[in-house]
């Protein structure tokens, strides 16, 4: 579970470079035109997206907010063969984030050296790479049955080995999942339906805060999707996950010092069971609407970590004249912790209710059949549980997409 932090960081950079290289190579070596594949028994679909964004982070009680510039690239390639019965999907999502704009007063503890710099009002902020790669395989075994499998890796690495934000520590996450999809069209051909069931596993190690946050999980899900007409589809799902924190002891109502949870060598380890019930509606008419509601219950054996949450999301999409496309996205989470625990700055405990909200607007303009440019604005307002305060962030972004 635990990996030496330095080794993780070095490997992280190498991994990022390798993933970016694979993404570029896939783009360059893939067939140039979809037309050429017209008569073939296979095809390769792909798109690549580049964006630059400016993050204006505002911690409401801090005078000097952290700001960041982010360059992102994402690539997705889908290789279909055997007449579409088999499909291999590669996706890469990565970015480089450069922080600036802090003279001091940063909210979370960093390293000793950084803390000294912070006090001196001369904080040299490091940058970070985030890389994520997934490979998925899908096979249609028959007209009624398909199987899927996915392997994924995600990594965050800071350019300076001794630097990290408490809320954005370097980490490496491995994940895998497998599932089956049953076609239920035969029951009612007018309203196609399908049943999905799957299992998953994930293991995440943090460089500096692994005892606090490192965890692994396994779980499963089942969902039923039904299409009512060409434009309307609904989905109902249930999932269960067991999350175990090997470095974290359980907290008890008798504990007066919250940091006990990371000291508890002889304590029982923290284990959460997450149950989630969800429903989602997709309507792709003249106006596209994607709405979802999820109810989650996190049942923890550690006092103060049990919570339930209501999560509502709404996405509106619409084609506009002159090859433009508009998108609005909003999400609200109302989370209630059932057991009160005093807050502290070095961990992730909180009390009472938190609200996590995001609102986003996106405008895309097609400049040619293969290229489009986009502008995006997003505003987040969250009750950050680590900073123990309201946290708002404005994001301004421009991007370019290539989708032959």
């Amino acid at each position: 579970m635990t990996t030496p932090p330095r080794a993780v960081r070095k490997r992280g950079r190498r991994l990022g470079a390798a993933l970016a290289l694979v993404a570029s190579a896939s783009l360059l070596t893939s067939p140039a035109s979809a037309q050429a594949q017209y008569e073939r028994n296979w095809r390769y679909d792909q798109d690549v997206h580049l964006s630059y964004e400016f993050d204006d982070n505002v911690q409401e009680k801090l005078q000097d907010p952290t700001r960041a510039q982010v360059a992102r690239i994402s690539y997705r390639g889908e290789f279909h063969w055997a007449g579409g019965d088999q499909r291999l999907t590669f996706s890469y999502n990565g970015g480089f984030k450069r922080h600036f704009g802090v003279d001091g007063g940063l909210g979370g503890p960093t390293t000793q050296a950084a803390a000294e710099q912070e006090v001196a009002g001369d904080l040299d902020l490091s940058s970070q790479f985030v890389n994520e790669g997934n490979v998925s395989y899908l096979r249609r075994v028959s007209d009624d049955l398909a199987v899927t499998a996915r392997l994924g890796i995600k990594d965050r690495t800071w350019t300076q080995d001794d630097f990290f934000f408490i809320n954005e520590d370097a980490f490496r996450r491995y994940s895998a999942s497998a599932g089956v999809v049953l076609n239920l069209d035969v029951i009612d051909p007018d309203q196609p339906a399908r049943l999905e069931a799957g299992v998953r596993y994930a293991d995440i190690s943090f460089d500096n805060l692994d005892p606090h946050f490192g965890n692994w999980l396994y779980g499963g899900h089942v969902s039923l999707s039904k299409r009512f007409d060409e434009e309307l589809e609904a989905r109902w799902s249930y999932s269960w996950d067991r999350i175990r924190f090997p470095g974290r002891g359980v907290y008890t109502p008798q504990d007066t010092d919250p940091t006990n949870i990371i000291r508890g060598v002889g304590r029982e380890r923290q284990e959460d069971h997450v149950h989630e019930l969800g429903t989602e509606l997709e309507w792709f008419g003249e106006l596209g609407v994607v709405a979802d509601y999820r109810f989650r219950f996190n049942d923890s054996n550690s006092f103060g970590f049990t919570y339930f949450s209501h999560n509502v999301g709404l996405q509106l999409l619409r084609d506009l004249p002159w090859g433009m496309f508009a998108q609005a996205y909003g999400r609200v989470e109302l989370r209630s912790f059932t057991e009160p625990v005093p807050s502290f700055t070095g961990g992730s405990l909180d009390i009472g209710e938190t609200e996590n909200n995001v609102l986003m607007f996106r405008l895309v303009k097609d400049v040619s059949p293969d290229y489009s440019v986009e502008m995006r604005y997003a505003r987040y307002r969250n009750e950050s549980i680590t900073l123990n305060d309201f946290y708002s962030k404005n994001i301004y972004s421009v991007g370019l997409t290539y989708h032959p």
Partner: protein, 307 residues
């Protein structure tokens, strides 16, 4: 399958009638006999289609030969006679094909209704056995019926798709030049060609609209998925904190959330459907050009006729 609402209406009605007609017993030949008759006719249709293709290819080459021959020459006359013979051979084949296709269609419609009845009867019997507290383990009949049900549903689904496809097919007449055509016949052929052009135009419009709808849906799915993917990269959906990686993995694995664009439904491929429709569009455009040329040719012949 979903987009063809109009062709599905009669099927839906048949389905509804079949479901409501539960107490009715199936009459007429058994399902296996109906299937045999349909198969027999389909085999004959395949043979005749082959023959028609050959005859039409010969007709085209004869027309070409006639164009290159001098009017009034012996070769011109011989080729004209051959064209006449060829037309005589084509007509009965076309007639028989039309009859056989109609028969197959009617047999399949009957089969569809019979499957409906069979499904309703099987379901009623299953319900009755279950109401008596029997389980498939205890009752061999219930086990047999439960196992048979998916087969019946599959067979009905297959027939529904075939019937729908046939309803979607556009009938275009074979308009052939005949040296003995009178002015009246030429006028009829011009009208038939123009009518075919109109019907092709109408179908082209429908296909275009369907492609546009599919593209729009595909685009919306893609953009919705892209936004979700972007949000997941930094765990931006919520406050940026270490714990959000747990959120991220839970989000990522949410059924259907990850792969809206293509993986959401492995049994449907909108891009493949768009590709198929584009192919059909090109095919119909070619047929349209052919009818435009024919209409122009017959108009020219008519003009010469009166000259």
């Amino acid at each position: 399958m979903i987009g063809m609402r109009r062709p599905l209406l009669p099927l839906a009605l048949m389905l509804a009638v079949g479901t409501m007609a539960t107490p009715l017993r199936a009459q007429g030949p058994p399902i296996s006999e109906l299937e045999r008759l349909a198969e027999q006719r389909e085999e004959r249709i395949a043979v005749l289609e082959d023959r028609l293709d050959r005859l039409e290819a010969r007709r085209d080459s004869l027309i070409e030969a006639k164009r290159s021959a001098d009017p009034g020459s012996a070769r011109f006359e011989t080729v004209s006679n051959r064209i006449l013979e060829n037309a005589e051979q084509i007509r009965p084949v076309q007639r028989e094909l039309r009859t056989l296709r109609e028969q197959v269609r009617s047999l399949k419609t009957e089969l569809f209704q019979r499957y409906n009845l069979e499904i309703a009867e099987t379901q009623t019997r299953i319900d009755a056995l279950k109401a008596r507290g029997l389980t498939p383990r205890e009752s061999p009949e219930l086990r047999r019926l439960t196992e048979r049900m998916p087969e019946l549903l599959r067979a009905r689904g297959r027939l529904a798709a075939e019937l729908e496809e046939e309803q979607d097919a556009l009938y275009l007449p074979a308009i052939v030049y005949d040296p003995t055509d009178t002015a009246r016949e030429l006028q009829n052929k011009i009208a038939a060609s123009r009518d075919a052009i109109d019907r092709i135009d109408e179908r082209l419009g429908e296909i275009e609209e369907r492609i546009q709808n599919l593209n729009r849906t595909e685009r919306m799915r893609r953009e919705a998925e892209r936004l979700q993917r972007d949000l997941e990269l930094w765990g931006d959906d919520r406050s940026a904190q270490s714990g959000s990686e747990i959120e991220a993995i839970l989000e990522q694995q949410r059924p259907g959330a990850r792969d809206r664009r293509a993986g959401a439904n492995p049994f449907e491929d909108p891009r493949e459907e768009i590709r198929r429709l584009r192919g059909r569009y090109l095919e119909l455009e070619e047929r349209r050009d052919e009818f435009v040329r024919k209409a122009a040719l017959f108009a020219e012949l008519l003009e010469r006729f009166y000259r």
